[in-house]
Symmetry: D2
Subunit: 314 residues, 4 copies
C-alpha cells in the first residue's frame, strides 16, 4: 500500500501506492514524496523519493470530509465559520496509480541505507516546527480569544479565570522554549555543509509537550468561554426577523451579540473541533516521538553521574 | 434577561426572559423552569418556578447550530454521521416573551428564601447523574470503539495501547464509583418524606472528576484511533466510481474499509467534536461545583483530627 | 529467595526464604504467610500458606531504617516527630531460615492451582482498603493540617489556597467513592459461603487512583504550608536560651510558634517524607493493578455497544 | 519581623529582623541582604540592602532540623546517606539583632522606588537558574539512578519502565529548554550597561514547569525503584554478623546487595524526602511566579491576533 516503484525505465520510474494525511497536497504546485519509515535490504522498491507536479497523470486526491467541511460547504459568509480567514487544515488521501516520474525528479531510488537518516532529518525539523512553533501560534489565538471572551462577559478578573489564562501561557511558552532550544542547540549536518538541523532531543520534547499541552489548553479555554461554545445558535438568526431581536437581547454582553458570537465561534473551532487529535498525530504519533526521545537522551551519562554520587564503581 | 414575572394576575403570572443551553426543550412535551441561582430579598420576581407546555404562546426556541448540525443537514445516510443512531445533544435558547402561566402550573412565585435549596436539590441530582452516570455510559462507547479501532489495525496488544485502554477504564470507573457513592450515601430529605436525594459531596466530586476525566479519555481514544479520525474522507467516496476502488484498497485494515471508517467516525464524534466543553459545562460550570464541594466538605472535622495528631489543644 | 518448603515431615514442613516489605510483622503475635504470586505446576514448593507465631525459631526480622527512623531514635519528646502519636509505618525484611511449621498451621502446601485465586482474594480486599479507605483517612489529616496551617498564617481565604484545599478533597473523596463502590458492588464468594469480597474492578481503581492522587495531595498540601515545611529548625530551639526568644518572635503567626511548628511538622511528615512511593507501592505496585484492571473490565461488552452504535454487524 | 533599619548613624546603620529559608548562609563568607518584596512610600526602613560578613556581631543562625539532619548526625559512613557526597541543602533562620552595617557595605537605604526592580532582577535570574537549570541537574541524577535501579533488577526493558524513563526525560528537558530560552532571549538591562538579564517570561515558565514537573519525576522514579526505597534496612546490617548473610542473599539482584542499596538510598533521598516542597518553594512560591507570568505575557497582542481572525474591529 505504501508508495513504491513498480517499473524502472531508462527515463524514469513508475510508482504506485498511497500517502494518507497529506496536508494541503491538493493545493500545492509540487509534492515531494519520501519514504514513510526506515527501510531494510529487500525493501528497495519502497526506498523512493521524488517530486511530482500537482495532478500529474495517475494521481488522485481524495479529500478529508468532516463536520467542519460540511459547515464550510453551507456557509453563506466566511465569518460564520470558526476560523474564517484561514479555514481548517485540509488533508487528503493522495493516490499514485502508476505515475511516471522522470529521472530528473527522482532523488532516491533503492538506497535504503539512507532512508532512516532522510526521515530523521525531516522528523526533527517537523517536530520542532510543528510542536514548538506552529502550535504556539495557535495557542496565542486561543489565549487571546479566551481573554476577549472573559472580558466580554466581565469575568477576566475572577481568580480562576486569571489562573486559567496564566496556565495556558505557561503550557504554550514551555513548548515555545523547546523550539527555541531545538534551534539554538542545532548543529551543522554534516559539518561544513552549511545546513543546520535542529537538536533532536529538544525537537521531540517540543512535539510531545505540545501533544499533551494542547489538550490542556483546549480544556482551559473551553472553561473560560462557557457553554455557549457548544450551544450557540447560527449567525443566520441575527438576520432572521423572527429571532433577531431575541438574539441581540439575550446574547449581548459587554459587547453586542455579534462580537460575542464571533469570538465564541473562533473558540468553538479550537476547543470543540478537530484540534485535539489533530495536534496529537500531526508530525507523527506521539508514541513514535517517545521512542525517538528515549534514543536521543544520553542515559549512559546520567548513569555515570548517579554512580559517582552513590559511590558505585564498576 | 433571566426569566422573571412581569405581571401577577388573579389566574396566573406573565413571565419574560430567556434560558440558555436548554437540552432537548424544543422536543419535550413540557418544560419545568426553576430559577438559575440562589436569590435574595428584593429579587422576588426572579423567584419563579413553573411548568409550561411545548410551544406555548410567546415561547420561541432558537436552536444551536454548529459543524455537526451542518453535517447532519447534508447527510444522505445517518451512518455517515458520528453518532448515527442517537445524534448530538441539541440544545436551544428558549425565549419567554410574555408567556402566561396559569396558577395551577406555578410552583414557586416570590419565595426567594427557598430558591437556594430548590437549586441545590436539582444540582445534586444532576451532578451525580451527569458526571458519574451519563458520561460513564459515553465512556463505555468510546472505550469499546477505541478497542475495536485498535483491533481493526492490529495494535491492541501494543503496551501503550493497552495502557491507554486501561487508563480510560480507570478514569471512567472512578467517576462511576462517585455516582454509586452519591446514591448509596444519599439521605431522605426531609426525613419521613420518602424522597431520597444523593449525597452532595460525592455528587460534586462525580461531576468535577468527569469534567477533567472526559478530556483525558478523549485524548487517550484519539491517540489510539490515529490521525484518520481527523483526515478521513467522506463515506460518499465509497460509492464514487472514481475513488471507490482506492478507498477500499487503501483504507481497509483487518476489516473492510467501511467498518474501519464507521468506528473511526464514531470516535471522530467523541474525540474531535463538541464533547470536551460540553461535558465540562453540562450540569453547571466546574467552578460552581468546586465552590459547592468546598462547602460540602467537613473541614472542621478534618482540622480536629489534625490537631489531635499534632497535640494541639485550643 | 521466596518462601518455600525445603522439607516435608509427617508432623509439618520446614520453610526457607524471605518476605520483603512486611509492615508491622515484628510487632504482631502471628504472621500469616501466603505465596507472592500465581504459581504453575512444578512450583509446588512455593505454593505454601501458613501461620507462624512471632519470633519462632529460625525467624529474623530486619527492620527498615531511613531518615525518619534516625529522627525517632534521637527524639527527646514524641511531639518533636512528624506523626507523633502513631509513628511511621515500620516494615521489615522477614527471613525464614528453616522454620518448622506444624501441620495444624499449614493452610496450603503444593496446591498451586489455587494460588492465583488465593492472592486475588487478598489483593482485592487490600486494594479496596489500602487505596480507597486507609489513604483517605491519611488525606483527612493532611487536609485538616493544611487548612490549619493556612489559618495560622492568614491565607485560608486566598483563592488559590481554597482551590488547593478543594482539589485535595476532590482527589481524596474520589478514592473514597471507589472504596464505597467496591464494597457495595461486592459479592458473596462463593455463593452461599457467607463470605463477601469487594468488587475487583472498583478495588483496583481505588488503589490506582490513590497512587496517583496521593502525590497530588502531597504537592497541594506542600504548596499551602510553605517553605517552612522543609526549613524549620528543631523544636529544641524553643528551649535553647540562645535561640528561644528569636524562635518565638520570628516563627509565631496567628498562633504561638510552637503551634505553628507542630502543624508544620505533621505536614513535613506527609509531604516531605516517605509517603509518595509508600502509597504507590503499598498493596502491590500500580503496574500490577493496571493489569488486573484491564482484566476486570468487560471490554467485550463495551465493544458490543460501540458496534451497535456504529451499525457494525459481524 | 522583616529586616529593617532601626538606627541611622553617620558611619552606617543598625538593622534588626530575620530572614527565613537562607540556604547555606551559615557557611558563606558574606551574606547579601535585599528586601523581600516591593515596597511603598512609608516603608523606607525596610528598603535596605547590604553585605554582611559571616557571624558579625548580633547575627544568629538557627539551622533547619528534619529527619535527614537526624540521619546525618548518626551516620557512621557518609555512604549510608542518600546524597552522600553533597548532602542536603541546609537552610537557616538568620536573625539580625541590632547588627551594625558600615556605610561602605550599604547598597540601598530607603530608596523604596527601586525595591521592586531590584527584586525582579534577582527573581528572574533565580527562576531561570533554579527552575530550569539546577533542578535539571538534579533530574539527571534521578533519571540515571532510576535507570541503574531498573538495570540492577532486570526491568529496564519493560515497556512501562521505558515509558517512565522517557517521561522523566521529557519533563526535565522541557524545563531545561525554558532555561535556554530565558538565556537566549535575555536582554542587556539597561542598554549599554554590559549586564544581561534573562527573559522574565521564560524564567517564570522554567520555575513553574519545574515546580510541577519535579513532583512527577519523583513519582516516576519512585515507581521504577520499587518499595525498597521506603523499606530498606540500615547499611549497618551489611556488617552485622546476625544479619549480614541474609542481607547479602535477599537484597542482591544483578549486582551485590550493597550496590543495589546504594542506588536505592540515592533514590530515597530524591523521591521520599524533602525535594517536593523544597523544589516548589525554592526561588519563591509558585503562586508568586504565576502572577509574574501573567504580567510578563503580552495579552494585548494575543487579543489583537484573535480579533483579527474573528474579524472584530473595535
Amino acid at each position: 500500500m505504501y508508495v513504491h516503484v513498480v517499473q524502472r525505465r531508462s527515463d524514469g520510474v513508475i510508482v504506485r501506492g498511497a500517502k494518507l494525511h497529506q496536508s494541503g497536497a491538493f493545493a500545492a504546485h509540487e509534492t515531494v514524496v519520501i519514504p514513510g519509515g526506515a527501510l531494510r535490504k529487500g525493501e528497495e522498491d519502497y526506498g523512493v523519493a521524488f517530486a511530482v507536479p500537482n495532478s500529474a497523470k495517475g494521481i488522485t486526491y481524495i479529500l478529508q470530509f468532516n463536520p467542519l467541511s460540511a459547515e464550510r460547504e453551507q456557509a453563506e459568509d466566511i465569518f460564520h465559520l470558526g476560523n474564517p480567514q484561514f479555514g481548517q487544515r485540509e488533508t487528503c488521501l493522495m493516490v499514485f496509480d502508476d505515475v511516471f516520474i522522470p529521472n530528473e525528479r527522482v532523488f532516491m531510488c533503492g538506497e535504503v541505507e539512507f532512508s532512516g537518516s532522510l526521515i530523521q532529518r525531516f522528523a526533527k525539523t517537523h517536530r520542532m516546527n510543528c510542536g514548538g512553533a506552529c502550535k504556539v501560534g495557535f495557542a496565542d489565538i486561543i489565549i487571546g480569544a479566551a481573554q476577549l471572551a472573559a472580558e466580554y462577559t466581565g469575568t477576566e478578573k475572577a481568580p480562576h479565570i486569571r489562573e486559567a489564562i496564566t496556565n495556558m501561557i505557561r503550557i504554550s511558552e514551555a513548548s515555545h522554549a523547546c523550539a527555541i532550544a531545538a534551534a539554538v542547540k542545532g548543529k551543522e549536518e554534516p559539518p561544513g555543509s552549511g545546513v543546520y538541523m535542529p537538536d533532536d532531543l529538544f525537537g521531540n520534547v517540543a512535539k510531545i509537550s505540545t501533544a499533551h499541552g494542547f489538550w490542556q489548553i483546549m480544556a482551559l479555554a473551553g472553561d473560560i468561554v462557557g457553554g455557549l461554545v457548544v450551544t450557540m445558535p447560527s449567525f443566520k438568526e441575527l438576520k432572521n426577523p423572527a429571532t433577531k431581536g431575541y438574539m441581540e437581547k439575550y446574547l449581548k454582553a459587554a459587547v453586542p451579540a455579534e462580537k460575542r458570537m464571533r469570538v465564541t465561534k473562533v473558540l468553538q473551532n479550537w476547543t470543540a473541533g478537530l484540534h485535539g487529535p489533530g495536534t496529537w498525530h500531526g508530525a507523527g504519533s506521539t508514541q513514535a516521538q517517545m521512542i525517538s526521545l528515549h534514543r536521543a537522551a544520553n542515559l549512559e551519562e546520567k548513569k555515570r553521574i548517579a554512580k559517582k554520587i552513590a559511590g558505585i564503581e564498576d
